[in-house]
């Protein structure tokens, strides 16, 4: 039996490989980078480790508010330990995936793969080449950071997110180009560790894909943490020699800035070069490889999933797409489902949302009901001193369908799970009127926000 080949060992690729193996297929996983891909090695996981250190540092600094007096006045961050902890987490998780590959009898090949024909791949591990005959191919080659046209990444001064998490020391200053999810997460981490951070965003607000009122709450907290934020501002030049940055404001005025590092976080692009897909006629564009709802490309034996198809570039979406691609490659008809995809931003405060934004909801449904509940009115949030933020719910007025939920505040990324279930199950607010939420919990805020859409909120 010819194997199914999976190209890429990130969230889409390894899940696709395991799913296909579980279907009884002979599976070959070819990965150029380490298993776990961007998410595990230079994305979601290591940044969260850094974030945990930053959170704990902030918590300890404020411990006196809770009656904890520290005997020494000096609280320091031991960067090398922070890095070690991060590396250890990554190593353990990568080992976990290696174990899963073995357990599922997946043949793992370290190297790059390119198409010779639809069903023949050339694998190059740097030293030698190998050609394999395969039955089907699942392309999950992921994405890579987009660089500025006038300043390519040099790893020294102009860096991307993968490099930003492994700096030799906490920088004294950092300029972040791009106020999206990645830019904001690094701003939140480094600013709280003492770095002088400046964020330059071309759009009108931070987090352009979230509602302005939600982004505004983060904006204020970042500013409180000492971050200088320039929205509607562009970077016009980076002078590597002088380590000087020129930015231009909306009114045309130009300012020059200095920083130890420039983190370019303006987005990620699908990684298609070197795959040889153009040679065999796979349909793709700048947005990525084109697939249908079965994750199938225009060539029936070739599937694609994860960041390489563009769309929503999130690890949990990649998991889902990887599973769908593999099932279809195993001749099962499975359709991808983007009905309720949570979006999490690990900043301080955390931001998490699912479903439509308010702007999208108004476009699609016209007049909608908006329910809000501030964490300042939640007892549990008060106890932990995390009163910044709110829960916002968007409800369609005729059938009371919950269209979207945004949460800014403590543990938002955990709380959003409730909203994800509500949207996934297509629950209406009336079903939840007499729901009992545990007290005292942060979760009460979600219930209260839902109740407020019918004017029945109790604690505001």
């Amino acid at each position: 039996m010819r194997p199914i080949a999976v190209i890429g060992g990130g969230p889409a690729g390894y899940v696709a490989a395991i799913t296909a193996a579980q279907q009884g297929q002979n599976v070959l996983l070819i990965t150029e980078g380490p298993l776990g891909g961007t998410c595990l090695n230079e994305g979601c996981m290591p940044t969260k480790s850094l974030l945990e250190s930053a959170d704990t540092y902030e918590l300890v600094k404020n411990a006196e508010n809770l009656g904890i007096r520290l005997s020494s006045k000096s609280i320091e961050i031991e960067w090398s330990v922070v890095q070690q902890k991060k590396e250890e987490i990554v190593r353990t998780l990568v080992q976990g995936i290696q174990y899963l590959m073995k357990k599922n009898k997946i043949r793992l090949i370290q190297g790059s793969a390119s198409f010779i024909t639809n069903q023949r791949l050339r694998i190059n591990n740097g030293e030698q080449q190998e050609e394999v005959e395969v039955s089907k191919v699942i392309v999950a080659s992921g994405s890579e950071p987009i660089s500025l046209p006038f300043a390519p990444f040099d790893g020294e001064w102009v860096i991307h997110s993968g490099q930003a998490m492994s700096l030799p020391s906490i920088p004294s200053s950092l300029l972040i180009i791009g106020g999206g999810v990645i830019g904001c997460e690094f701003a939140s981490i480094y600013s709280r560790m003492g770095t002088k951070v400046t964020v330059v965003e071309m759009g009108k607000q931070l987090l352009p894909s979230e509602d302005p009122d939600i982004a505004e709450i983060l904006h204020r907290k970042l500013a409180d943490d000492g971050v200088t934020i320039h929205t509607s501002t562009s970077v016009t030049d980076l002078n590597v020699d002088k380590k000087q940055i020129l930015i231009q404001f909306q009114d045309g005025t130009i300012q020059d800035l200095q920083a130890d590092y420039v983190l370019v976080a303006i987005g990620r692009k699908p990684r298609v070069h070197g795959l040889g897909i153009e040679g065999i006629g796979v349909d793709f564009s700048k947005q990525g490889i084109a697939v249908d709802e079965y994750m199938q490309t225009n060539i029936p034996s070739i599937y694609a999933c994860g960041d390489v198809i563009g769309g929503i570039q999130l690890a949990h979406v990649a998991f889902h797409e990887g599973r769908v691609a593999a099932l279809n490659a195993c001749d099962q008809a499975e359709i991808v489902n983007y009905r309720a995809v949570p979006r999490c931003i690990y900043t301080s405060p955390e931001i998490a949302s699912v479903g439509l934004t308010e702007e999208q909801a108004r476009q699609q449904y016209g007049d909608i009901k908006v329910g809000e509940f501030p964490f300042s009115a939640n007892g549990k949030a008060r106890i932990s001193n995390e009163t910044i933020g709110k829960v916002k719910v968007l409800v369609e007025p005729q059938y009371n369908e919950i269209l979207g939920i945004s949460i800014v505040g403590p543990h938002a990324t955990e709380l959003i799970g409730q909203g994800t279930i509500m949207l996934h199950a297509e629950i209406t607010t009336d079903v939840l009127e007499n729901l009992i939420m545990a007290h005292p919990t942060l979760s009460e805020s979600i219930h209260e926000a839902l109740l407020s859409t019918s004017g029945h909120a109790v604690h505001v």
Partner: protein
């Protein structure tokens, strides 16, 4: 002991019968000979009379459900009797196993079957949208986890209803309102057979229709004369239709190509003429066959034709008498239709459509005369013969009709 009423076998070929209507409900008392249900099979509609006096104890087969002949459809007995069902009274039929199983579960309290919406898996949003649109959610196919009906499924269902041109009315009506007006009828029994045959005919033959009109003024005179003679004999009178049948039979014998069938890439030419005559019923259409029609006089044709049509209307015709025709006549004249495109009764090569005769001025020499004209539409299978021979056949029919004495000589 309660009496079992079973689905009767109406003809050898009957595979399935449907109770089209229950005239009695569970608990109703019935007299012997009283009508309890109407059933229909692929070809025949029939009433079922109670063989005994008693109470209808149980209905085992709901309206509209097809079951094989021999299946118990209800029980009649005394009210204090318990219904004992035997699994063995069902004739097994692989294809319809599922239906049999469901029909064989006697649950007097829950019959007739009515689906409640409570047990359908559906999301809250989907349920509300469906309710607002007055949709029967039990009919929606769910695509969510475990077949759960999602919002998208309901929106799809609404879209499908909206896109059906049937309910497009000029004034603007909400989709909800149009859904309310809908009445859905399951395609079973005779309708199912007609639907399949007509579609098959149009898809699998190369049929086309040619038309002409025959001057039947003289024929009508002849028919009137014959009617006078025969009425005194206390017999069915001969109609124009019977003369048309005779003309067709004679023409078929002159043009054997038209008395044929196209079966499996082979053209079968028949010596005898088995003439099918389409008869409209209240719920469909049947084609009784006059066998060896070439041996019949016009008078015999009239007699046989009337008898077959009568029995067909009463649902008394076995399927043997409705198959094997070699050519068919369909008459829409009584509805005022002139020309139409009859659909071949496959595998036959030809079908003649007879329209409504009408009076018109016709030049006879230099003179205009009032004449009666009969529109004729001949559909034929171009795979068997071409336009010229088909037209020649139609010409011959016309000739017989215009010179009716030639038919009798």
């Amino acid at each position: 002991m309660a009496v079992e009423i079973v689905m009767p076998k109406l003809g050898m070929a009957m595979k399935e019968g449907v109770v089209s209507e229950w005239n009695k409900g569970v608990g109703d008392s019935v007299e012997k000979g009283e009508l309890i249900a109407s059933i229909n099979s692929e070809k025949i509609e029939m009433d079922i009379e109670s063989p005994a006096e008693g109470t209808l104890l149980n209905i085992a087969v709901p309206e509209g459900q097809g079951v094989p002949p021999g299946t118990v459809i209800c029980y009649i007995g005394n009210t204090d009797e318990k219904v004992v069902t035997k699994a063995s009274n069902i004739q097994t039929n692989k294809v319809e196993d599922e239906q049999i199983e469901t029909s064989n579960i006697p649950e007097p309290s829950s019959l007739p079957v009515s689906k409640t919406n409570d047990r359908v898996k559906i999301s809250p949003v989907a349920r509300k949208i469906a309710q607002a649109a007055n949709l029967d959610i039990s009919k929606i196919q769910g695509t969510g986890p475990g077949g759960r009906i999602t919002k998208e499924d309901v929106q799809e269902a609404i879209k499908k209803l909206e896109s059906k041109p049937l309910i497009q009315e000029e004034r603007t009506i909400s989709p909800q309102a149009s859904v309310e007006r809908r009445k859905e009828m399951s395609v079973t029994g005779m309708r199912k057979v007609i639907a399949a045959r007509m579609k098959d005919s149009l898809q699998n033959s190369a049929q086309l229709t040619i038309t002409l009109k025959a001057d039947v003024t003289d024929l009508i005179q002849l028919q009137k004369q014959s009617a006078k003679i025969i009425q005194t004999d206390n017999e069915n009178k001969i109609t124009i239709t019977d003369f048309i049948a005779k003309a067709v039979i004679l023409s078929l014998q002159e043009h054997p190509q038209m008395n044929s069938a196209y079966i499996d890439e082979t053209i079968h030419l028949f010596e005898s003429v088995h003439l099918g005559i389409a008869v409209a019923l209240e719920k469909g259409l049947v084609v009784p066959v006059i066998r060896n029609a070439e041996a019949c006089t016009v008078r015999q044709l009239a007699k046989k034709g009337k008898e077959l049509a009568k029995r067909a209307r009463e649902g008394q015709l076995p399927s043997e008498e409705m198959t094997g025709s070699t050519f068919t006549i369909s008459n829409l004249g009584s509805y005022g239709v002139e020309y139409f495109t009859p659909i071949l009764n496959t595998p036959e090569t030809g079908i003649l459509g007879v329209g409504a005769a009408y009076d018109a001025p016709v030049y006879i020499g230099e003179e205009l005369k009032r004449r009666t004209l009969l529109p004729l539409s001949l559909t034929f299978d171009h795979r068997v013969l071409d336009g010229a021979p088909a037209s020649a056949f139609l010409q011959t029919v016309k000739r017989y009709l215009e010179q009716p004495l030639t038919m009798l000589l």
